[in-house]
C-alpha cells in the first residue's frame, strides 16, 4: 500500500503549506508512540491507537482494543474508509483525499500543534489507573462474594433443609452465622442444626427450647417462692449457660456473681423466705454449716418403734445425732482395745466406712459389711458356728426356740463335746441344768437366752431395746430401728476422695484431721467439721485465706496457699 501523507501547516499570515511524504507498507499505524506511521501527541492517544489497512474490499481503519476514533462526527472502533471521510483523534484531523496516480491512498493531516509535547506521556501507561487495577469492580466483587457466601447461600440452605431436602455439608449453611463452635454434646444433639435452638429469628433462644431436651431440670427456686422475693423473674437458661463461646467452654458459667447477685443481699430482699446471706467462702462471707439430721417427728413418741423420721435442719453447734445406735468411735479406734481379726492391727476408718464407687461419700454402714467380722452373733460357746439372724428381733427369738427345742427333744441333735468343761456326761450345759420335761426345759433355756441377748450382752450392746414385758417371749423385746444419716450436708457436694490426703496426713490420720472420732465416746456426737476446718485450706481468693478465724482448728495449713472455692465448688444450682 502506497500512501501519500500530506501535512497541512497553516501559517499565521493565513497561507497554507503542504508537506508531502510517502509511506509504503502493509499497514499505516497511527498513535502517539515513536515509530508509528503517523505520530500524533495527546493524552487520549494511545501509543498504537489505530491502523489503516488496504484490502481488496477497500481501505479500512481499525482501532486497538478499547480505543476509538471520531469518524465524520461519530465515535467508531472500526470502519471502512472512503474519500472525503474525516478522522478526528484528540484534536488532530485526518482527511482522506483523492489519491494521486501511483498512490492507493492520500491523507491530509492537520496536526494540532497546540498540544503540548508533554502529552507524549499518553504513549505510555504511567498511572495505575491505566492498568487492570480497578477499585470499583473490586469493591463490587467483594460485595457480591460477601452477600452470596454469607447471606444468600445460608438462606438457601436453611430453606432447603426446612423443606426436608438434604444439603451437602460442603455447602456453606447457616453455620457461617455461628459466633463460635457448640459444646460437643449440643453439637451432637442438634446435628449442627441451628434452628434446633434458634427457633424464632430475631428472638433470643427461649428456655422452653432448652427444656425440650432437658426435661428433668428443676428450677432453682419454685416460682411461688421466687414471687415472695424481690428478685423479679427467674433468669434465662442462657444467663449461666453460654453457648458458642469456645475456645474456652462457658457452657456453665460458675462464677460466684451468679449466686451472690441474690444471695449476698440482705435477708429483706428474700421477703418472707428465710435465706442466710452468703457473699463468698470466707469466715465473714459464709454462714456456719447447718446439718440435716433425721429426727423422730414430734407427733410420734421418740422411742417408739413406729416413730416417723424426718430430716431436720439445725445449727452445727449443739447438734446431736440420733441414730438409735450405741457406738463409741473412741473405743473402736483404741488400739489397746480393738484390733482387726485378720491381721491384729488397729482398725482403720475404712474398715467400717467403705468409700462409695463415685468417691464422694461412703457406702452405708451395715452389720453385714462393717460389724459382723468382729461382732459375731454366736450365742452358744459350744456351738461357735451357730449365729443368730440379724435385723428382726422376732426371728431371733424363733431361731432360739427352734434351737433349744431341737436340742432337748432330738437325741441325735446333740452336739459333739467341743467345750472342755466338767459336766454330766452326755449332757450339755443347758441340758445339765434342767431336769424337767424336754419341752419345758427348751422353753426355759430359750427364755434365759433371749433375756441374755436382748437385755444383757447381745443386741443390747449396740442397740436400744424396748422390753415390752409381754408374756409372749416372741413379742417381749423390740429393737429400736437404726436410722443412720447418709448425708449430713445434702445441699453441698464434698468429694471425700479428693481430700484423702491432708498435708502430710494420709489414711485414717487424714480422716481424723477433720472428723474428731478418736475422742467421741457417744453415738450422739456429730463428727461433722464446721466451716472453719474448710477455711484452713480454702478461701474465696486464690492464695488468700478465708478471714480471721477464732476456732483453734482453723490455723491455715500454709498461709498464702489457699485454694479458691467458689459457690459452685460445693453447691449446685438446680435441685437434684
Amino acid at each position: 500500500m502506497d500512501v501519500l501523507l500530506r501535512e497541512v501547516r497553516r501559517r499565521t499570515d493565513g497561507t497554507v503549506e503542504f508537506h508531502d511524504t510517502e509511506f509504503a507498507g502493509e499497514v499505516l499505524t497511527i498513535g502517539s508512540g515513536v515509530g508509528q506511521g503517523i505520530q500524533l501527541l495527546g493524552l487520549a492517544v494511545a501509543a498504537a491507537h489505530a491502523r489503516i489497512a488496504s484490502s481488496p474490499a477497500g481501505i479500512s481503519i481499525a482501532c486497538s482494543r478499547g480505543k476509538t476514533v471520531n469518524l465524520n462526527g461519530g465515535e467508531t472502533k472500526a470502519a471502512a474508509l472512503s474519500v472525503g471521510d474525516v478522522i478526528t483523534l484528540a484534536s488532530h484531523r485526518l482527511q482522506l483525499i483523492e489519491a494521486p496516480t501511483g498512490f492507493d491512498l492520500a491523507l491530509e493531516i492537520e496536526v494540532d500543534h497546540d498540544i503540548d509535547p508533554s502529552e507524549y506521556e499518553g504513549a505510555f501507561q504511567t498511572d495505575l489507573r491505566q492498568t487492570w487495577l480497578r477499585k470499583r469492580p473490586a469493591a463490587w466483587a467483594l460485595i457480591l462474594l460477601t452477600v452470596v457466601v454469607f447471606i444468600v447461600a445460608p438462606l438457601v440452605v436453611v430453606t432447603l433443609r426446612s423443606h426436608g431436602n438434604v444439603v451437602p455439608a460442603s455447602i456453606p449453611g447457616d453455620g457461617l452465622w455461628s459466633s463460635g463452635p457448640l459444646s460437643m454434646a449440643h453439637q451432637q444433639a442438634t446435628g449442627s442444626n441451628c434452628s434446633a435452638c434458634h427457633r424464632v429469628m430475631f428472638e433470643r433462644v427461649r428456655d422452653v427450647d432448652c427444656l425440650g431436651c432437658h426435661r428433668n431440670v428443676a428450677d432453682h427456686v419454685p416460682e411461688g417462692h421466687l414471687a415472695l422475693t424481690k428478685f423479679g423473674d427467674k433468669p434465662r437458661c442462657a444467663t449461666c449457660h453460654r453457648e458458642h463461646q469456645e475456645p474456652v467452654s462457658h457452657l456453665i458459667v460458675a462464677d460466684n456473681s451468679g449466686c451472690t447477685g441474690c444471695h449476698a443481699q440482705s435477708p429483706a430482699a428474700f421477703g418472707s423466705l428465710k435465706v442466710g446471706s452468703a457473699s463468698a467462702f470466707s469466715a465473714a462471707g459464709h454462714p456456719e454449716f447447718k446439718v440435716h439430721l433425721l429426727k423422730p417427728a414430734a407427733s410420734t413418741p421418740a422411742d417408739s418403734m413406729d416413730a416417723e423420721w424426718k430430716p431436720e435442719v439445725s445449727g452445727l453447734a449443739g447438734a446431736v445425732e440420733n441414730s438409735r445406735l450405741v457406738f463409741s468411735h473412741q473405743q473402736h479406734l483404741d488400739a489397746a482395745r480393738v484390733i482387726r481379726n485378720s491381721d491384729s492391727e488397729p482398725l482403720d476408718c475404712t474398715d467400717c466406712h467403705a468409700p462409695d464407687v463415685d468417691g464422694k461419700g461412703f457406702r452405708p454402714v451395715t452389720m453385714k459389711d462393717s460389724c459382723v467380722s468382729c461382732h459375731e452373733l454366736t450365742f452358744d460357746p459350744a456351738e461357735p458356728t451357730r449365729q443368730l439372724p440379724h435385723g428382726k428381733s422376732r426371728e431371733v427369738v424363733i431361731a432360739l426356740q427352734e434351737y433349744f427345742a431341737r436340742m432337748f427333744v432330738d437325741p441325735d441333735a446333740r452336739r459333739p463335746a467341743t467345750v472342755e468343761r466338767r459336766r454330766i456326761p452326755g449332757r450339755t450345759d443347758a441340758e445339765s441344768r434342767c431336769a424337767g420335761p424336754p419341752a419345758a426345759c427348751a422353753r426355759q433355756a430359750t427364755t434365759r437366752e433371749v433375756e441374755t441377748q436382748f437385755a444383757v450382752r447381745g443386741c443390747i450392746t449396740c442397740h436400744q431395746v424396748i422390753d415390752t414385758r409381754s408374756r409372749d417371749i416372741v413379742e417381749r423385746f423390740q429393737v429400736v430401728p437404726v436410722r443412720l444419716t447418709s448425708d449430713f450436708l445434702p445441699n453441698a457436694h464434698f468429694r471425700h476422695s479428693s481430700h484423702r490426703i491432708q498435708g502430710a496426713l494420709t489414711g485414717s490420720a487424714a480422716c481424723l484431721s477433720c472428723h474428731d472420732a478418736g475422742k467421741s465416746r457417744r453415738t450422739e456426737d456429730l463428727l461433722i467439721p464446721g466451716i472453719g476446718k474448710c477455711l484452713t485450706c480454702h478461701g474465696d481468693q486464690p492464695g488468700g485465706i478465708g478471714g480471721s478465724l477464732s476456732a483453734a482448728a482453723s490455723k491455715p495449713v500454709n498461709p498464702g496457699t489457699s485454694v479458691r472455692l467458689g459457690c459452685a465448688g460445693c453447691h449446685g444450682y438446680h435441685p437434684t
Binding site: P117, V147, W177
Partner: protein
C-alpha cells in the same frame, strides 16, 4: 510537610481522642466477668460493637467528605487526621468486642476485612508520610509534564542526528527510541523493570546480522554509539557521534527521573486499591454481621 501535619494536626488532638477512646474501651472490657464472660454478646460487648460499627461508618464517610468540596463540616485535613487515629483505635475496639473469639464465620470474616483495611491504611499513612517527599526530590529536574516534553524534544533531536549517521547507528538510535519502555502494567510500574530494547547491527563492512538487544537504562545504546567514536570512518562523523552520545545521556537521565516518578506514584496509590474496595466490602460484611447476630440471637 503537609502529610506530616496530617498526624500532627492541631497538636495531634485526634491522637489524644483516640487514646481516650482506647482507654475507655479497655476499661469497659475489663468490667466484663462473672457470668458475663467477655464476648460480643454482653452489654459491654454490645457497646463496644456499637462504637466499632459507628466508627466504621464514620471512617467510610471520609470518602464522601473528600468529594464534598463545598462542605464546611471540618477541613478534609482534620477529617483525615481523625480518620487515621480513630481508624487505629478501631483495631482495638473491635478486637475487644470480639473478645478474641474467632472462627470460620461471617463475624470473623468482617473482623479480618477490617484488619486488612486498617493495615492497608497504615501502609497508606506511611506512604503519604514518606513518598511525596521523595517525589518532590525527584522533581528537582522538572515535574512529569516537563520531563515528558523534554523526552519528546530529545527524541526529535536524536532522530535528526541519527539520520546523519551511518546505517547501523541510525537503526540503533531510532530503534532505541521506538523501543524505549516506560511504565506499563502494574508490576512494571511498581518495580520499574526496564524492558527497553534496541536493534544492534554491525557496520556495513562487517555485515553482521541485526540483533534485538536489551537496553536497560539506555546504557547499551550509549555504549554502542560511544564505542563507534574511536572507529569513526570519517572525521566529520565524530562531532555527530559526540552529539548523539550527549543527547543519549541526557535522555537517559530524563528517563531515570520519569521511571522513578512513575514508580513512586504507583506505590503512593497502590494501598488505596486495597483500602477502598475492602472498606466497601467491610461495610457490607458489617451489615451482614449485625443482621445475622440478631437473626440467630
Amino acid at each position: 510537610m503537609i502529610h506530616e501535619s496530617l498526624l500532627k494536626y492541631r497538636n495531634a488532638r485526634f491522637l489524644w481522642q483516640a487514646l481516650a477512646l482506647m482507654v475507655l474501651s479497655i476499661g469497659l472490657y475489663l468490667t466484663q466477668g462473672g457470668v458475663r464472660v467477655p464476648s460480643g454478646g454482653t452489654w459491654q460487648g454490645y457497646i463496644l460493637g456499637t462504637i466499632g460499627a459507628l466508627l466504621i461508618v464514620w471512617l467510610a464517610l471520609l470518602g464522601v467528605r473528600k468529594r464534598a468540596y463545598a462542605s464546611s463540616l471540618g477541613t478534609v485535613q482534620g477529617w483525615t487526621s481523625a480518620h487515621v487515629y480513630l481508624g487505629s483505635a478501631l483495631l482495638l475496639v473491635a478486637t475487644l468486642h470480639s473478645a478474641g473469639q474467632f472462627g470460620w464465620n461471617v463475624h470473623t470474616f468482617a473482623y479480618v476485612l477490617m484488619c486488612l483495611v486498617i493495615l492497608s491504611g497504615f501502609v497508606g499513612v506511611y506512604a503519604y508520610a514518606s513518598i511525596p517527599q521523595w517525589i518532590s526530590e525527584n522533581h528537582a529536574g522538572g515535574n512529569r509534564p516537563e520531563l515528558f516534553s523534554e523526552l519528546f524534544a530529545l527524541n526529535r533531536q536524536l532522530q535528526l542526528l541519527a539520520v546523519k549517521s551511518e546505517a547501523a547507528i541510525q537503526l540503533a538510535v531510532t530503534s532505541s527510541i521506538e523501543r524505549t519502555a516506560i511504565g506499563g502494567d502494574v508490576a512494571a510500574q511498581l518495580f520499574g523493570r526496564d524492558r527497553s530494547r534496541f536493534i544492534r547491527s554491525g557496520t556495513a563492512s562487517s555485515g553482521s546480522e541485526a540483533v534485538l538487544s536489551g537496553n536497560e537504562d539506555q546504557q547499551q545504546i550509549i555504549d554502542f554509539v560511544a564505542a563507534r567514536l574511536p572507529r569513526a570512518d570519517k572525521a566529520a562523523e565524530v562531532p555527530n557521534l559526540h552529539e548523539l552520545v550527549l543527547f543519549l545521556c541526557r535522555r537517559q537521565s530524563v528517563l531515570r527521573r520519569i521511571r522513578r516518578d512513575i514508580r513512586l506514584r504507583a506505590w503512593l496509590q497502590l494501598w488505596l486499591y486495597v483500602h477502598v474496595p475492602l472498606s466497601v466490602a467491610l461495610l457490607v460484611a458489617l451489615v451482614v454481621h449485625i443482621l445475622t447476630t440478631f437473626m440467630y440471637w
